[in-house]
């Protein structure tokens, strides 16, 4: 089992390398189509043509595109992500502060979405064939017609403005001092340093943005789980369990759910990757200082080094989540487990 999982991870890793090379080259070429001049935008009004030339040289923008790409790639391999044109700071520094925030947000969103989705899927299954199932089915169709960024706005409107229960700006209350940085993950750092006030504030700030992401995921999980439960329940081993006198609830939780979970797990893999895309606007709307906010700022200012780096990191995250879900799938799949 562990050996198969390791092989799988290794294969995923080997596949990821060419994909990431292609992705980075693609991003590089697309960004060089740019009609606007990022240098001109970052200079003060009185700048001379010499200033422009010097800055272009500093950022390597006077070379050919393939040359620029290989310089960038070479630096990347040594861990140097370049310098932001707009922020005038190291891209690595900007990214390393934003990345844990985004991972925390997606982890919270995924957890919440899976909990809501599995609960909803089980409820739909339990009420199968009744009007209640139809009603839930119809409301999932409705829920799916609203994208994450609109949920973000609606949640702020109702739970932030109309009934101000939860904070909706940033990661932490301004009155709370930041816990010491140990891992960069705010929740973890607060926990490790025993800063309960920071932990409470950080958790409260996570609720609305992660809920906005979760409402997008939950209906999909519900539907897939329900339809695979409906298929599983017809299998012979379920009938056998019934004949042995095992209660319906135990059959569902102890027997059917395990097998029916597989399609749901693959769905979560795909959607987990998409959720990183969803964070872009959700972070912007909640002024949550993660990768998405950094990306939107970079896009608005044509900050090419930042866009390049953040795009690549998003792809790494998507591939990573796919690999993790593959391993979970393997661990949950009795057929593959038996093979080892």
């Amino acid at each position: 089992m562990t050996r198969i999982a390791l092989q799988l991870l290794l294969r995923r890793l080997l596949l990821a390398i060419p994909i990431l090379l292609c992705v980075s080259a693609l991003v590089f070429v697309i960004l060089r189509l740019l009609p606007a001049d990022p240098i001109a935008m970052s200079l003060p009004p009185g700048a001379t043509p010499e200033d422009v030339e010097r800055l272009k040289r500093d950022f390597g923008l006077d070379r050919s595109i393939p040359a620029q790409y290989f310089i960038w790639l070479g630096k990347l391999l040594t861990g140097d992500l370049g310098t932001s044109i707009f922020f005038r700071r190291g891209v690595g520094e900007l990214v390393s502060r934003a990345l844990p925030a985004t991972i925390e947000l997606v982890a919270a969103g995924l957890t919440l979405g899976v909990i809501l989705g599995v609960a909803g899927g089980l409820a739909m299954f339990a009420k199968r064939g009744t009007a209640a199932e139809q009603a839930i089915d119809l409301s999932t169709t409705g829920l799916m017609a609203i994208p994450e960024f609109l949920w973000a706005i609606l949640l702020i409107l109702f739970l932030g403005v109309a009934f101000p229960l939860l904070p909706f700006i940033g990661r932490l209350d301004p009155a709370v001092t930041l816990p010491p940085t140990i891992t960069g993950f705010l929740l973890l750092d607060s926990l490790l340093s025993g800063r309960w006030d920071a932990l409470r504030s950080a958790l409260a700030h996570l609720v609305l943005p992660s809920l906005a992401l979760a409402i997008g995921l939950a209906p999909l999980v519900m539907r897939v789980l329900r339809s695979s439960l409906l298929e599983t329940i017809l299998e012979d081993y379920i009938t056998q369990a019934r004949l042995r006198g095992i209660g319906e609830r135990r059959i569902l939780i102890g027997h059917a759910l395990k097998n029916a979970a597989l399609p749901t797990i693959s769905l979560i893999g795909v959607q987990g990757g998409f959720m990183f895309g969803g964070t872009v606007l959700v972070e912007m709307i909640f002024a949550y200082p993660g990768l998405g906010n950094l990306m939107v700022d970079a896009v608005r200012n044509h900050d090419l080094p930042v866009i390049q780096a953040v795009a690549l990191i998003y792809c790494v995250l998507v591939l990573a989540i796919n690999a993790i879900v593959d391993v979970i799938y393997l661990a949950a799949n009795p057929k593959l487990r038996a093979a080892s």
């Binding site: 740019l34 609203i146 994208p147 994450e148 706005i153 999909l220 990306m295």
Partner: protein
Amino acid sequence: MSPRAAAALRRCAQSPRVIVAAIILIAAIAVALFAPFLAPHSPQDQDLINTLLPPMWAVGGDPSYPLGTDTLGRCILSRLIYGARVALYVAFVAATGAMLLGAALALLASYFGGWVDWIVSRMVDIWMAFPPVVLALILLVGMGAGVNKVILAIVLIDWTRFCRVIRSEGIVVMKRDYIAAARLSSFTNLQIMLKELLPAVSPLLITLLSLEMGIAVIVEAIMSFVGLSVEPDVAAWGVMIADARQTMNQAPWGVIFPVFAIFLLVLAFNLMGDGLRRALDTRLLISRGAA
């Protein structure tokens, strides 16, 4: 029309989902087409004395602005009506474009197999590594903003949604006897692809097209929300939401109406896709959701 196609069409017409969706879509198309006659004001007319009016049924509402006004005193109803034009234009053009590109590559891949299939599949792998929103932002930075650029970006991103599904369906179809029969009766490759393979995958294609239109509406809304889509003088729902967000605590209606408009249109496309999928009996497609 073959009897089978006629029966399928009848099943579609009887599906409540398809009927509800068709009603909403026909209404939306009519609103977009007749916008100049329906809108009480020009979508750009500012009335700086009557800014942030509530809808006419609320206290302080003005009947000449049925859904109220925004920060510049522009009529929200009129902007919603004109916004439908942008949303539907992007939905139809972008989704059709993505379908043509995705289906063409999928047909080539499933028909020829071998290295053609290998290349197409690797391209899909690379594209799938991007969260779609991130790729859209990068493309719009590279190509510059604008509504037609948004359409191009959607085509260049979402062809994979068609390609993945149609390719695997096409590979199944290619194993059928009638394809072999067509080969034996010296059909050309193009003939087999267009006359045998394409009709076999078309129920799936139509279903995906409908879902993709909903996705296109959302992507356009996102891009106009961040200011990368329409020109500043064009009313689009995403722009309305972005503008009204600043004054959301005094005037929540400015946000709620365009959100509702997006919801209704996307719902219609999703219901249509869902209804068609059931009526055309395409094997359960797992909806991959939006953005």
